[in-house]
């Protein structure tokens, strides 16, 4: 579904990605793991069009989307749930969700998706008129996920969804991500909680300083000595 070949990106003179290649198949849950600054977030930002790649190709369902507009990528079916739960803090929960459907012109189906998000996250329904900035951390993460789903994506990319959440909320959040995949969407997950991500995913890529250094099934990587040493505490 998503094929990335030799992707290179940078910010000014700094090269953040030095030739990343990876693939995500239809209906899979794929994890990207690695240390801070390894290039995980940049990979997602390049896919969604927020960063223009210097070289390489990104194919989504056969269409080349490297260097395309964020709006175009989103319309093609890729939703990006960026790092940090900060949404639109002064806008209401309902308006935050409506922003997720910004590009859609099918109000009836958007209405259905509102109802679905509200039934999946009853807390959001209770607080729909409240400014998003007044929600708790966990609720804001739910809102961020709900907003991503409002575009009816074929591929959802999550950037560090568990960052800064209490352990029980982390579990709940990862459970929701699994259920999104079970509902038929494809998921690309960037996660600093390597063990949880590897448990959850079908296969995973380990990125270090802008390069993929390991790839394989989640269970394989958990057993891999390099991964164990660097990310799972031996």
């Amino acid at each position: 579904m998503l094929e990335i070949r030799d992707l290179e990106c940078g910010y000014g003179p700094v090269a953040a990605l030095k030739g990343v290649s990876l693939g995500v198949g239809e209906g899979e849950l794929v994890a990207l793991i690695g240390a801070n600054g390894a290039g995980k977030s940049t990979t997602l930002r390049a896919i969604s069009g927020l960063v223009k790649p210097r070289a390489g190709s990104i194919k989504f369902r056969g269409e080349e989307i490297a260097g395309a507009d964020p709006a175009h990528v989103l319309a093609a079916g890729v939703a990006h749930c960026p790092e940090g739960r900060r949404g639109f803090p002064y806008m209401s929960v309902a308006d935050n969700l409506a922003m997720g459907a910004y590009l859609r012109r099918d109000p009836i189906k958007v209405r259905e998706d509102f109802d679905r998000v509200y039934s999946d996250f009853p807390r959001l329904a209770e607080r729909r008129a409240q400014p998003a900035g007044t929600l708790s951390g966990g609720e804001q993460q739910m809102l961020a996920i709900g907003r991503a789903l409002m575009s009816r994506p074929k591929l959802v990319m999550f950037d560090e969804p568990s960052l800064g959440l209490a352990p029980t909320i982390v579990e709940q959040t990862l459970g929701i991500i699994r259920s999104i995949r079970d509902d038929g969407a494809t998921v690309l997950l960037v996660e600093q909680n390597a063990f949880a991500a590897l448990e959850l995913c079908d296969h995973a890529y380990l990125i270090e300083t802008g390069r993929v250094v390991r790839k394989g099934a989640g269970k394989e990587l958990i057993a891999d000595p390099l991964v164990r040493a660097a990310y799972l505490g031996g």
């Binding site: 989103l74 900035g133 800064g164």
Partner: protein, 346 residues
């Protein structure tokens, strides 16, 4: 609850001429109202997109000149001996021209500066206002320069089946101002509550995220600047046909400051804000006149402004809303920015 304020103000001002004939007070209300329309237009940019137009008076002044020149007619020579001769047209066509020309200028300024936004937009708008003022001052053949455009015809309105009226009295002009102000208010209210309004607020609150959900920042801000400038142009046209004389001083920076004060004190980013701010700073001169000289009044304006910003940092409208809904504390405090509670080790 402050959404009831603008209709109340409208009704109060509409009923006022029934009992009050004092031309000084009517004049002050009309002038204050015209600048309130400017403030409503500025609020669309400053309050809802967060972009500060510090040359907003340029759009107002361009509207005033466009409207006056359309109604008066002109005869100017361009490069290469080409002469443009224009016979005066109906003042209402002038009003429409003001909206069109100012809107176009807003589009050009937005197009030039919104690729970079923020401080650059502020600088471009200040420069734009100064350049336009210099043109108005020096293109004497068109604008009469410092001699001013005089004898600008009064606004004329025609209604099908009712014939045409020239708005000569202050009361008539008050109603014209109220009509245009209501229209401007409704246009802004409609925009703000639409999908386009969400895009503007989204850009202001979290630009990266707004772009990632597909908002085109440059396009959205340019459209907002165009509409804002067009409304300011309409206000400028009212100014020209009411006072019947305009000179390059309409482009002075202090008028922009007046509009910014109206928006900020009333509450930027709220619909009632510029109306409340306009009411305060539009009626203060009237209220203070019996007691002090105009020079001394400036001190009071300053004190009132400081007091408002000290007691109600987000402006009168949000403060009133908080007071009336009994959640004053929650409303006057910023929603907490989402901070990670724990730093996850990676």
């Amino acid at each position: 609850m402050t959404r009831f304020v603008p209709p109340l103000v409208l009704v109060a001002l509409a009923l006022l001429p029934l009992g009050l004939k004092d031309p000084y007070i009517l004049n002050a209300l009309i002038a204050g109202g015209i600048f309130t329309i400017g403030a409503i237009s500025l609020n669309l940019l400053l309050g809802y997109t967060g972009q500060l137009s510090l040359g907003h008076i340029a759009f107002f002044g361009i509207g005033a000149y466009a409207s006056a020149l359309t109604a008066l007619g002109f005869d100017v020579g361009l490069f290469g001996g080409v002469r443009i001769v224009h016979e005066g047209w109906h003042p209402f066509i002038g009003f429409l021209m003001a909206i069109l020309v100012s809107g176009l200028c807003g589009y050009v300024v937005g197009r030039l500066s919104f690729r970079v936004r923020g401080a650059y937009f502020v600088i471009v708008t200040i420069c734009f206002a100064e350049v336009v003022r210099l043109v108005a001052l020096n293109w004497v053949e068109l604008t009469q320069g410092p001699l001013a455009l005089t004898s600008i015809p009064q606004m004329k309105l025609g209604f099908p089946g009712l014939g045409e009226t020239t708005l000569r009295t202050k009361t008539q002009n008050l109603y014209l101002m109220l009509g245009v102000a209501t229209l401007a208010y409704l246009v802004v209210a409609r925009l703000v509550h639409s999908r386009f309004g969400r895009a503007m607020r989204g850009l202001k609150e979290n630009e990266q995220l707004a772009m990632s959900v597909g908002v085109n920042a440059t396009k959205t801000l340019t459209v907002a600047a165009t509409i804002s400038a067009a409304i300011a142009g309409a206000a400028g046209s009212l100014y020209a046909h009411y006072f019947r004389i305009i000179d390059p001083d309409v482009f002075l920076f202090s008028y922009t400051v007046t509009m910014v004060i109206m928006v900020v004190s009333g509450g930027k980013g709220t619909l009632a804000g510029p109306v409340i701010g306009g009411l305060i700073f539009g009626t203060l001169p009237v209220a203070l006149r019996p007691y002090m000289a105009p020079e001394a009044q400036w001190i009071v304006y300053g004190a009132v402004l400081i007091l408002i910003l000290f007691l109600m940092p987000r402006g009168v409208a949000p403060w009133l809303d908080g007071l009336l809904s009994g959640r004053r504390k929650a409303a006057s405090e910023k929603p907490p920015a989402a901070q990670p509670q724990l730093e996850g080790g990676a």
